[in-house]
């Protein structure tokens, strides 16, 4: 695992949002199916026709250990799931670090038992069909955010953040600095200080 991913995994999606001024954050409809588990890694991009699971099978074979599958399923939940327990089991075996799917997954209980980091817009019992082969390793739009091969993904219970690959070092450093600053705020609150004073909002909201 790269040094970047090791450092990234210790961070939180919310702090990435702060460091990126709100950009690169997916639609909150794409949420954690396996609570308490993070996905941190490099994006392997997948573009599916709605409910056409066969493209994800192709991705399972082509992705490298350390990758997170980032699947554009056209935000569809009716046509069928794009991954389930068996595919997640294989993904773990192949060293993949999670899936982010703008579409549906299934076998929620199985995914939780495996502890496979799974983020999706929907869960459905219906399986996808092997109908039309889409594309892998192309730029995709997932949850309203552009994701390219090798961009960095950090997903946790708050949602999914995408970090452009050129900016990973800069963003990680920024977040680590934010964490230091916020630890100072937390310590001040524990000393019974008020956030409005710490952040200097008093005048803005008319509070002395």
């Amino acid at each position: 695992m790269s040094d970047h991913v090791v450092r990234l995994e210790r961070l939180e999606a919310a702090k990435i949002a702060d460091a990126q001024a709100g950009f690169g954050i997916m639609d909150p409809g794409i949420h954690s199916i396996v609570p308490g588990v993070k996905a941190a890694g490099t994006a392997f991009t997948v573009k599916c026709y709605p409910g056409s699971i066969i493209t994800v099978h192709r991705a399972l074979v082509r992705a490298k250990p350390g990758d997170v599958l980032v699947v554009d399923g056209e935000a569809d939940g009716r046509a069928g799931a794009l991954m389930g327990e068996l595919m997640a089991r294989e993904a773990i075996d192949r060293g993949l670090r999670g899936i982010v799917c703008d579409g549906a997954l299934r076998d929620a209980a199985g995914l939780r038992e495996l502890g496979f980091p799974s983020f999706a817009r929907y869960v459905t019992p219906r399986v996808g069909v092997n109908r039309r082969l889409g594309l892998t390793e192309v730029n995709v739009t997932v949850g309203g955010v552009i994701v390219r091969m090798g961009d960095y993904i950090l997903a946790d219970d708050d949602g999914v953040a995408v970090i452009p690959r050129e900016q990973i070092a800069e963003i990680i450093e920024k977040v680590e600095a934010i964490n230091v600053k916020e630890q100072g705020f937390a310590d001040a609150i524990d000393r019974h200080e008020r956030l409005v004073d710490i952040l200097g909002f008093g005048e803005l909201i008319g509070v002395k």
Binding site: F23, N139, Q167
Partner: protein, 209 residues
């Protein structure tokens, strides 16, 4: 995205320019015809024109701005050139319009081909009256404000569920919006025109003799 503590706008490059002749020929091609070609990008049905018989063809000038902030789209209005299509990613916001009557008048006067907004527009009747093609997810009386939250200009953006790169050819009509890379636009033109011609012939077969 912020890179220095302020929320600066990040700039990319315009895409490769297509010939004026090729762009003109795409005025005779329907997005539905482009949709028959495997692998082509079509925006979601939810991105619709503000009036009927609306046709929009031109190369994309891309913008991403965040939430209620319209300072990045204002900047883009100054930089866009005649013949281009403004493609706006509003980061999921559908409440705050980023163009209305007077901005549309100014854009039309400048020769801008039209706008495609994954978000809201306003002044639907005035924009219809002036026949300025605006495709949007919705129309709203609530307008955005300049807040300098930063943004992207001429970098890839997400619009209507597809990725749009600067310079991509936008072909929109009442049925929807298709997006072609400059390479795709050149490679697919002959095939698209052939399909249109065949459909015109088939249409004739149904005419009363």
């Amino acid at each position: 995205m912020s890179s220095n503590g302020t929320n600066a706008i990040k700039y990319g490059e315009r895409g490769r320019k297509l010939s004026a002749e090729l762009i003109e020929q795409y005025r005779g091609v329907q997005p539905a015809t482009i949709g028959h070609m495997p692998g082509t990008r079509l925006m979601t049905w939810a991105i619709k024109p503000g009036y009927r018989n609306c046709k929009l063809v031109g190369q994309a000038f891309t913008v991403s701005s965040f939430g209620l902030d319209i300072s990045t789209t204002s900047k883009a209005c100054d930089l866009i050139e005649a013949g281009e299509v403004m493609v706006v990613d509003r980061g999921g916001d559908v409440e705050n319009a980023c163009i209305g009557e007077f901005r549309a008048l100014a854009q039309q006067k400048k020769g801008v081909a039209g706008w495609v907004i994954d978000g809201a527009s306003t002044d639907i009747l005035e924009c219809e009256a002036m026949k300025f093609p605006i495709f949007a997810r919705t129309w709203s009386a609530r307008v955005g404000h300049p807040a300098n939250l930063g943004g992207l200009i001429n970098l890839p953006v997400s619009c209507g569920g597809v990725t749009v790169h600067p310079g991509d050819l936008i072909v929109g009509d009442d049925n929807g919006v298709a997006v072609l890379s400059p390479d795709e636009a050149e490679a697919l033109l002959a095939k698209c025109l052939e399909v249109e011609a065949r459909e015109a012939e088939r249409r004739l077969e149904y005419q009363p003799k």
